[in-house]
Amino acid sequence: MTNAYTSVQWNHHKKVYDLILAGGIVAYLLLFYLGGKLFFPAPGGFSDEILLIRAFATCAVILLHVLLAIGPLARLDARFAPLLYNRRHLGVSFFLVALAHVILVTAFYGGFGVQPAPEAVLAGYPAALRTGAMPFEVLGFFALLIFFLMASTSHDFWLANLGSGLWKALHMLVYAGYALVVMHVALGAMQDQTSKVFPVLLFLGATGLATLHLAAGLREARRHRAQPAGEDWLDAGPVAGLRDGHARVIEVPNSERVAIFRVGANLHAVSNVCSHQAGPLGEGRIVDGCITCPWHGYQFLPHNGQSPPPYTEKIPTYRLRVAGGRILLNPRPLPPGTAVEPAQLPLESV
């Protein structure tokens, strides 16, 4: 949680995450390079430059697939949620690996002529089109541009200054970037390689991500919907089955979801949408008396939806009551940070 700009708020989890990430990238690049030298030895093998270009390229494509898989995996199985925590570091690392690939390509393929190297790489395609080749370099360029915009605005500073709507829209461009990368590979490397490994892996990657996203989307659509229970109230299910320190998430018609937390003998209802990056608060827990978002650890006091001082984040709260063993929710959200009397659990339920 931030109340002042700092570049990275390091903690133990972030250090472990980043160490594993950096180690994995370095190990992959080394293995790729050494494997290339071993299985394709001189004189017929690949030059160091080509091996490095391909190492960074394949590493970037793999990282991109991992990045895009984390979101839906975390929706489908809570055990993947820790991968969400530092996903932005993974994203920036992916961009740096992709940038290394671009720099090597530009220097190697465009750096030995009379034109400026970037121009030589990007502008070469008009002639190539006449022979049937595709301008795949241009697709890669636009993908890199999108990823640069995302990497450079990944800090919460930009989230606060651009506003959550614009920031989120910018970061949803990752899907356009992904499509450009797939076609960059399909119209580039895949055209020259005789092996079917490239096409099969690319197809599996794209269909795998599509399946994960569609499965997660369908699962979200099947959530429990609260039924009307009187003029101003919705039936949010039985009192029984709500564990202490956990929440039940309720789908409210034409509105955001509501999370009903149990804290001891009290029930509190707050918006399910975290004010930081819209994480699912209802999938978090009560930690140190605070509702704690499972994505990045933002916290809110259950009785008023305010973050504990000195933090200033707020979320809407809702009125609750208990009648006949059922939890009743007033679906009209109160202004963010409004204190609400908790509903009391019947004595026999505590």
Partner: protein, 33 residues
């Protein structure tokens, strides 16, 4: 996740899936040609 974001994600992937498959198929045919 906000309701609008969930719908946007679903819509994006409903459009992206056939587009990606069509693009891959086209690139494959172009490779064979």
């Amino acid at each position: 996740m906000k309701r609008a974001h969930r719908r946007a994600h679903l819509l994006i992937w409903l459009l992206l899936t056939p587009a990606l498959l069509a693009g891959l198929a086209w690139a494959w045919i172009h490779r064979l040609a």
